[in-house]
Every structure is written in C-alpha cells, then in structure tokens.
C-alpha cells in the first residue's frame, strides 16, 4: 500500500490515554480498594540459603485486626512459566535473602506490618552459592529436586544433580575446521551484573478467592493477564476458567511484570482470610529484593577470523546467574541459542547457554530479554577483533553482518525482507560522523583539556522470544453511532499499543481515529486471548489480528448492504463511515444503519449486531533442535545499530554522552511520536545499564542496595545532550507479513547501548572495559591503572 493512500498509519497521533494520565484520573491497582479489603505484609528471609527450622506465629495471631497468617505449609504449590521451580512461599528452606517465609493479611497495612514483626522464624544457615563458578562446581545444590520439576521438555534441559536449570546449545557447521581456517583467534570474557526493572508502580495484586468455590478474582499490575490466569490455575490445581484476571492501567513493566508473580500467593492469603479480598503492594525494597531482576551474566567468547576480517568460527559460553529461581529465566537463556552471537554471519559455531541457580534474588524477563547482556559481550568482542586485525570496526561489522542469503546461527535463512543490519549501521555511522578511530596525536591533544571524546558503534538484533505457537486475537464491536470498540488481550503499559491498534482499526475501517476506541481494563472474562504482553511482538501480531478483524467487520457490513443495495458484496467499497457501490456511489448505507442490523422502512430487519474478530498465530516457528539449536525461532527480526559520541573526564571518570544515534530497520513507522518514545526511553534505560545500574551483594549474598539510595536509575540530569532516532522504512527490506510492513521495536533501543558506549570509551582511552556498569569509579580507576602501567 502506498503511503499517500494511508490515512492513519504513519500519523503521529497523541496517545489515547494521555488525558486520563495527566489529570490523575487513570486508576492503577495501587489505587484500588474493594469492600472489606485486607492488606498483606510479608516476612522475608534474612538468609541467602537456610533451612527453616520453625515458624512461630502465635504472637502475631493475637494482634487485633489480623485476619490470616500463612506460611509454606499452607501453600504446598509451585509456580513457573517455563520451569515450575518456585514455591509460592519458602517451604523447608529459603534460597535467597528476601524470599517470603510468611505473610499476614490484616485490616490495614500498619496492623499487618505490626503482626509481621511478631512472627519468629528459626533458621539453620546453609552454605551459600554466590556466583556461577561456585554453582558450576555443584557441591552445594540450590534445588535438590531439580530433575523432578515440570518444564517444557525438549526446549529446556535441566541437568540432574547440578545447579544448571537449563543447558541450551547451538552447533552449526564444523567448529574445529573453522578455527583451523582462522589466521587469528581472540578470546575474551565479559560480564554484567543483575539489574532491576524499576517500574514506577511496584508490583501489586488484589486477590479475592470465593470461599464456596474454586473461583478466584485477581486485579493485578501484571503485563500478562492470560498468563496469570493459566499459571495461577495450574499452580493451585483449579480450572483456568475459574480464574478471572483484570489489569487496569499499570505503572510500567519492562518484563518484570510478565509471567506471574504475587498473584497465586495473594490468592492463598485471601483463601485463608475466608475469601476477603487481600491486597499486597510491594514496597520499593521488595521490588528490588523480593521480586525478580535481570540476571547477571558472564560471556566467554572465542572467535577465529581470517586476515581479511571474515569470521570463520566462534565458541561461546553465556552463563546466566539466574539466582534462586529460573522459572522465566531459562527462556532468557534460550534466546542465546539463536541470537547469542549478534547479527553476524558465523559459518561455524558452538554456543552454550547455561541458566544457573545461585542463592541470590532470582531473575526474569527484562526489556531486551538477554540481548543487552549477550550483545555487551559480543559487540565489545567484535570491536576488539577489529582492533587486533587493524581494521576499522565499521568495516569489520559491515563485512560480517547478516545479509540476504546468509543463515543465522540457528540456521534461519535471511531474506531481503528480514531487514538490514548494515543499513542501520551506515545510518548511525553517518549521523555521528564516524571516520575511524581517533589517532594517538588527537588523543594526546585532547588529554590536555582533561576530557577526551570518543565514538563507538554497535549492532543489535532481536526477535520475539516466545513459545512457537503463540497466538493473539482481537474483537471489534460497532455501536449504534458507528463508533467501534476494539478489545485486545494485550496490556498498554505506556508503549502505546492501544493507540496503534486504534490507528490500524481506523485505517482499515476508514473512519476517524475519534470513532475508534481500544477498550482499557483488560479482563480475561471479556477480552480475547493474548499470550503475554512481551517480546516487542504486539504491533506485529496484534496489528495483524486487528487488521483481520476490521476486514471481517467490513465484509459483514457489505454482505448486509449488498442485500439492501441489490448488488454483489464485491461491488461495494467503504469510506467515511459508509458502504457504497463502487460505480453508482450514491447507492450507499452508513455504517451506523448496519451496526445493529439494517431496518427497512416497513420494519423488516436483516443482519444483526456487527461484531468481528481477528486472530493471529505465529507462523512457521519451530522449537530449536535439542542438540544443535537449529530451527526457526524468529517470527520477526528487528535489526538496529547505535552510534555514540561521548566525552570522558579522565580525572573523575565521568562519562558524558553527547549524542546517541539509534537506527532500526522497523519496516514501517505506524506512529512516530510513540515509536520515538520507545527509542528515547529504551536508550536511556540502556544508558542506565551502561553507566549506573547494578546489584551489589555482601559476602553472605545479601542485597546491599535494595533502595533508590544506592540503586540509582538515570535522572533528567543524566541523559545525553541528544538522541537521534533513525527509522529505516525501505519497502525493499520491510516486513512483508507485518502490518503495513511494520516490525516490533519496544525492546531494541535498549540493546547494545552499553556496547556502543564501551566501544566509544575504547576509542577515547584505548582502554578495554569488560564489566558493567561503566561508572565514574570503574572508569577513573581503569585510567589510573593504565597510566601506572605505562
């Protein structure tokens, strides 16, 4: 479809939720109160690994206003999305400091807090697994019964008698031969710490368990109401249809609210409180220390290259420190099997991705889903290879980046319409004025000012990570006034899904944007199914479903109109809220006369309420081969690149980013205002991972920074001078099966921001950084050490 024919696609409409959010009218679960509602508070483990010897709740029970107290023995249930490894409440032993050991529901928060302070728990400390190396030794087990845990078989590979929740592999080509062909081999090790999602609204759930049946009502700040329904039912052994989940506005998710979290646990509390609704609102400390994080990760990578710069082979170990649980984490690890070597053509590769248990707060999905972590290692490594070869890192990347006809590391054939990493790289290199690395003389001259500038580039890629059979649906109903209400199962948590879906519906129905409303307050009893609001997949999948629903709605109206207008439906067109004959355009009927069925002058009625639906099922995906990782996991790839221009204060170690240019082969921009929002926000979140954020643990594996005092995120004063988003909208490389050619972009802006900054720091300082974050301390001390060595 040519652009000039599009009325709504490509227009920067304001978000539909704007007004409610700037007036304080938008209601979040944080704000919700139900009649008779109780408030919950939790007892947390002070130990990282310990046996629970006894729990004494007798004093707490005496506090007036306490309605229920639960401990592990009251909740003999496990829960998990991909690996069912998590007790609702710690039972028998605790696996991380911060884990819930008991909880109280009381008439108000203060009463609950008071009761919690009176619960006495005796622990017998156990030896602690601090990191992946200790975990891999396997002398101490975080989960003794790992081999008995239910999981998606053939996709995840828990290793019995170890701390490896899943060991996923890629094997492509002949790695031995590949290394033999290499003129040069480089080995590196990189790491990233665990970081927090930091949604401004902490996790919150209200659960109401009907005492006379299995029915459960949930109001949650979750990203994934249908996953909550499914997993809660499975965990408690009840019917999915007995679980009713509502998600109103949510205050940010970033993956941390995907899957399932507090919901089944709060349901247990409501049951114990004889069915009164119970609200559990995580404190900020619980958000850091009880609820999951992005996993820490270590990459060990070895690459063979020829003198001309072509990669011959890679061997990679990505080891994920998933903390105490890996129910979602194993799938983060799995993504490395098909994406863990970056957007490069690697003919021969052996890749291991191991999701590993330790005694720390556990990990889950986080915007980018493992890609920021893997790309930190890979894109820094590629930079170093270019350096060692004496090649311009831009040329090195251009040479090896995926091109049509190449295959990915999991054997997926790259088509022209898969998108173009090189177009993105060229765009950002141009935008930051990349002309190659700084010379020694330039560096020496700048050093006199105490500040050195550096430029860096990095590529990125990501495809949705989800089960191969992931589906979604949209329902569309027309009201008497011709307005259309669209219902989808995805959650608009600010990314703008509802506005974009309204644009797509308006486009297809050819009606004004004001005549379309995507219905908020997703309700699993009313809204159609969507798997999870994750993976940058909804514009693509939901967009296709909404398009189909709209086409179906038009078809329904045409069929009725054809009877009235005495013609074949194929002879009818639609525009401006009317169905009209393609030639005799005066023969027409307004939508609103068809909305509830058409009524003839004599009173006869035909047709009926116009209600349409559309579905989208992920097409042609397969599970990776258990041994080789080969298959087709990528529904839609989005490629991108960042170019960074920064200035580093060589004394304080402060990095000031002057400019980040970020290009994405997005195919088609449906709403630039909203896409810009994803890019600006994502880049700054990536900047946080690059320069600021990271968990710190004590020698006994306690989280040392469970508050904003010491776990900082970027503020308005920490942003670069400029971010330049660039969108590749080349019809040649656009996504042919995406809505209007569009691809997802929600997570991508965050990926490779640290890599590009690390590469720019190398350009500035000729110092290689291997660990995040690149905070003033680590940069300044590295500079000081480097000058000592000279």
């Amino acid at each position: 479809m040519r652009d000039q024919e599009l009325k709504h696609i490509g227009k920067p409409y304001n978000r539909k939720d704007g007004q409610e959010k700037v007036t304080g009218q938008a209601v979040y679960v944080h704000d919700m109160e139900l009649p008779g509602m109780l408030h919950a508070k939790c007892v947390h483990s002070p130990h990282a690994h310990a046996k629970i010897v006894s729990i004494d709740t007798s004093e707490a029970e005496k506090v007036p206003g306490v309605k229920a107290i639960v401990t592990g023995k009251d909740a003999p249930y496990r829960v998990g999305l991909y690996m069912v490894d998590k007790n609702l409440i710690a039972t028998d032993k605790v696996r991380y400091q911060g884990e819930i050991v008991a909880a109280v529901a009381a008439v108000d928060e203060t009463t609950a807090e008071r009761a919690v302070s009176l619960i006495k728990v005796d622990y017998e400390p156990l030896p602690i697994i601090h990191n992946v190396d200790e975990a891999l030794e396997g002398n101490i087990l975080v989960h003794e019964d790992l081999h008995t845990y239910e999981h998606m078989a053939g996709v995840f590979f828990p290793q019995k008698g170890t701390n490896i929740a899943s060991w996923n592999r890629t094997l492509k080509g002949d790695v031995k031969k590949g290394f033999e062909e290499a003129d040069f081999v480089l080995e590196d090790e990189f790491s990233v710490p665990a970081v927090a999602h930091v949604p401004m609204e902490t996790h919150v759930t209200i659960a109401k368990a009907d005492p006379y049946s299995d029915k459960v009502e949930i109001w949650s700040s979750g990203q994934s109401p249908f996953a909550i329904r499914q997993l809660l039912a499975k965990s408690l052994g009840i019917n999915k249809s007995d679980v009713h989940v509502t998600v109103p506005y949510i205050g940010g998710g970033f993956g941390g609210k995907a899957g399932i979290h507090l919901e089944p646990f709060v349901t247990i509390l409501s049951r114990a409180a004889k069915g009164r609704p119970v609200k559990l609102k995580a404190t900020r400390e619980e958000e850091f220390n009880l609820l999951p994080t992005r996993a820490g990760m270590r990459t060990r990578v070895k690459t063979g290259v020829k003198k001309d710069g072509s990669i011959t082979a890679m061997e990679i170990y990505h080891d994920w420190d998933s903390g105490a649980y890996a129910d979602y984490g194993v799938n983060v690890g799995k993504t490395a099997v098909y994406s863990g070597a970056g957007p490069y053509h690697v003919p021969n590769i052996e890749l291991h991705s191991r999701t590993i248990y330790t005694n720390k707060v556990f990990s889950t999905a986080y915007r980018g889903f493992g890609h920021l972590e893997t790309h930190w290692g890979i894109e820094r490594h590629m930079e170093r290879i270019a350096t060692e070869l004496g090649m311009d890192p831009f040329d090195f990347r251009m040479k090896n980046a995926l091109k049509p006809g190449d295959t990915t590391i999991s054997g997926e054939l790259v088509y022209k319409t898969t998108g173009s990493p090189t177009a993105c790289l060229e765009a950002v290199a141009k935008e930051i004025g990349w002309t190659g690395r700084k010379t020694e003389a330039e560096r020496a001259e700048e050093l006199k000012t105490g500040k050195i500038r550096g430029k860096g580039l990095a590529l990125l890629q990501k495809a949705p990570a989800m089960p191969s059979y992931t589906s979604t649906a949209a329902i569309m109903q027309m009201n008497e006034d011709g307005h259309v209400k669209v219902m989808i199962g995805a959650i608009d948590m600010g990314q703008g899904a509802n506005t974009v879906m309204a644009q797509i519906a308006a486009e297809e129905l050819k009606i004004p944007m004001d005549d379309v409303e995507v219905v908020w307050n997703v309700d699993t009893d009313k809204h159609p199914y969507d798997w999870n609001t994750v993976a940058s997949k909804y514009t693509f999948m939901g967009g296709n479903a909404v398009r189909k629903a709209a086409k179906n709605m038009i078809q329904q109206m045409k069929e009725v109109a054809a009877q009235v207008l005495r013609c074949h439906p194929d002879e009818l067109e639609h525009d401006n809220g009317v169905i009209y004959h393609v030639h005799h355009t005066h023969r027409q009927i307004p939508f609103k006369k068809l909305a509830m069925g058409y009524m003839y002058e004599n009173g006869n009625g035909i047709g009926g309420p116009v209600i349409a639906h559309g579905i989208y099922m992920a097409s042609g995906l397969t599970n990776p081969d258990p041994e080789t990782g080969q298959g087709r996991p990528g529904l839609v790839w989005t490629f991108g690149a960042h170019g960074v221009d920064l200035e580093v204060d060589v004394e304080t170690g402060e990095v000031h980013v002057l400019k980040i240019a970020s290009a994405f082969d997005i195919g088609k921009v449906i709403n630039k205002k909203l896409v810009d929002g994803q890019v600006l926000g994502g880049v700054i979140q990536g900047l946080g991972s690059a320069l600021i954020e990271g968990y710190k643990f004590s020698p006994d594996a306690k989280l040392l920074n469970p508050s904003f005092t010491d776990n900082k995120i970027p503020t308005a004063k920490d942003i670069p001078d400029q971010i330049v988003p660039i969108y590749i909208e080349d019809p040649e490389t656009a996504q042919v099966d995406g809505p209007y050619g569009a691809r997802g972009i929600g997570e991508h802006p965050m990926i490779s921001v640290p890599s590009a900054i690390g590469n720019a720091l190398y350009d500035a300082l000729e110092i290689d950084f291997y660990r995040l974050p690149l905070n003033p301390e680590s940069v300044a001390l590295a500079i000081a050490n480097a000058s000592k060595k000279q």
């Binding site: 302070s117 170690g653 004063k717 920490d718 301390e777 001390l781």
Partner: protein, 284 residues
C-alpha cells in the same frame, strides 16, 4: 511504620524544652527528610515527635555585617540556596546546598537537620567547617554554643544530649572578597549522596581552609593540611601538590557507594579542581 508516636508542635522554645524535659527520647522534626526514612524503615521506634518549625528562634535567617550569618534550624536548604548574602559571601554553602538531594527535598530539608543527622557524608558540613560555624543549642540549663569542629563525635553521633535542641548555626562573617568553592563527586549527575565532598575557602588575606565529607567517620576540617598550605606560595603548582598531599590527610573507607581507592583518587581530583578555581577567583 511500627512507631506509634504523638505529635507536638510547640510555639515557644520554653514549651519545647519543657516537653523534652519530660520525654527526653522525643525525636525532633524539622524538614523530616531523614526522620521519615528512619520511621518508615523502623530503624527506630519513636514514641514522641516534636515539630520545631513553629518555634520563632528556629526560623531566624539573617546576615549581619560583622556578626555573620545565622541559619535557624527550620531554614530549608532551598532558602539558603536562594539567599543573596549566601550567594555573595558563602558561595561554597550555596553550591553544597544545590548539590544536596533533589529540588523538592531541598524545599523541606534543613541545614541543621543535615548536620544533626551527622552522616559522614553530610553535604552541608564542609562549608560550615571552613566558615567556622558555631552551633547554637538550647538546653534545659540554658543556651550553649559548640564550634562545628567539636559538634560531630562519630558516625551519626554528635555532642547533643537528649532534651537539647539545636536552634541554629552561626557562620563567621565573610567578606565579599572571601572566596570559597564546594565540589562533590557522586555516582550519578542527578540527586545522589556524595562519594566525597570538599570545601576550600580563601580569605582576602589568602588564608586557605579545607574541609571534607565522606572520607572519615565525620566531616572533617583538614587543619594540618591547611598549615602546610599556609607555608606554600599560592601559585600554579599548588593544585597539583594538593592533589597528592591531601591523600595523606584522609583515611576513607570502602563501602557500597565507593571503594577507598576511588575515594582517595577523587579526593585528590576534587582538591586540585577546587584549588584551581579558588586561585582563579581569588587571584594569586
């Protein structure tokens, strides 16, 4: 919050002292920006809270030539930042005020609260140290004055006894030709606690004084270093010399916010940068 406290808002100092005489463990409330965190985290269980903001003496904020600047205990950090005499004569104090926490916290936080909390990293302490501030304390036995250098006794500890109230601090007079600079290194550019903070002051007679925060159990005035500086000429070599020399005068620790190595390093850097600025401002 587990504390169950009652709330007092006396309108006179006498009324406050009388209440404190009866309940010496009462927590004093001015800006509340530290106390509210203590209460929320149940770090202390508090029975009585006494709000001092209605006590007239604590609202006093005035500069008198010859006497100096008095900052009452209810004066907020933003009031200090926006004050003309402070901008003209106590620049380091303004810079320290602007570096403390966030704008909206500075609308509540008080300078006196900052020093009474006695964090080793108290941002506003080092300017007070170089301006020879005196802490005015009301006690049941009458008022007393304690030089700021003797006020801090350890991490989160001061000379204050239960039942006493800090009314305010008096800074020595300062000429408009009196130059001072405050520098702080934090982890982020937005609001953050200091990894290290320094104030350098040069009087019109070229006497240099230096104080630091977050490099010792209390904010400290580096008296020995000042003596060494007084024996040196104020020339271009001074900043570089100070960068390395200052490291002999402090013993920072490693903690969650920084390693001792970086604290030492950055203390030198801040001292050098600060001294350069002083020399630029004050002439040589």
């Amino acid at each position: 919050m587990l504390s169950k406290f009652d709330y007092q808002r006396p309108k006179s100092l006498q009324e406050a002292l009388t209440f404190l005489g009866e309940y010496p463990e009462t927590k004093l409330l001015a800006g509340g920006t530290d106390l509210m965190v203590v209460l929320r985290r149940n770090m202390q269980i508090v029975d009585h809270v006494l709000d001092i903001k209605e006590i007239p003496e604590t609202k006093r904020f005035e500069y008198k030539p010859g006497e100096g600047l008095f900052i009452g205990a209810s004066v907020t950090v933003n009031q200090i930042s926006e004050s003309e005499p402070v901008k003209e004569r106590y620049m380091a104090l303004k810079q320290a005020a602007d570096s403390l926490a966030s704008y909206q916290l500075r609308n509540r936080a008080t300078l006196v609260g900052n020093i009474c909390n006695a964090s080793p990293g108290a941002d506003l302490a080092s300017p007070l140290l170089v301006f020879d501030a005196v802490v005015h304390i009301a006690t049941p036995q009458g008022n007393k004055e304690v030089p700021i250098q003797s006020f801090f006794t350890g991490v989160k500890r001061t000379v204050l006894n239960p039942g006493e109230i800090v009314i305010g601090v008096q800074l020595a007079d300062s000429e408009t030709e009196d130059h001072s600079v405050f520098l702080k290194q934090a982890r982020i550019k937005g609001h953050d606690l200091g990894i290290a903070g320094i104030t350098l002051r040069m009087t019109p007679s070229h006497k240099v004084s230096v104080a630091m925060s977050a490099v010792a159990p209390t904010p400290i005035r580096l008296v020995d270093l000042e003596k060494q500086i007084s024996e040196k000429s104020l020339d271009d070599t001074l900043p570089e010399w100070l960068e390395s020399e200052i490291k002999n005068h402090i013993k920072p620790i490693s903690d969650i916010r920084s390693s001792a190595d970086y604290r030492l390093h950055i203390s030198g850097v801040l001292a050098k940068k600060g001294m350069k600025k002083l020399l630029e401002m004050g002439g040589k």
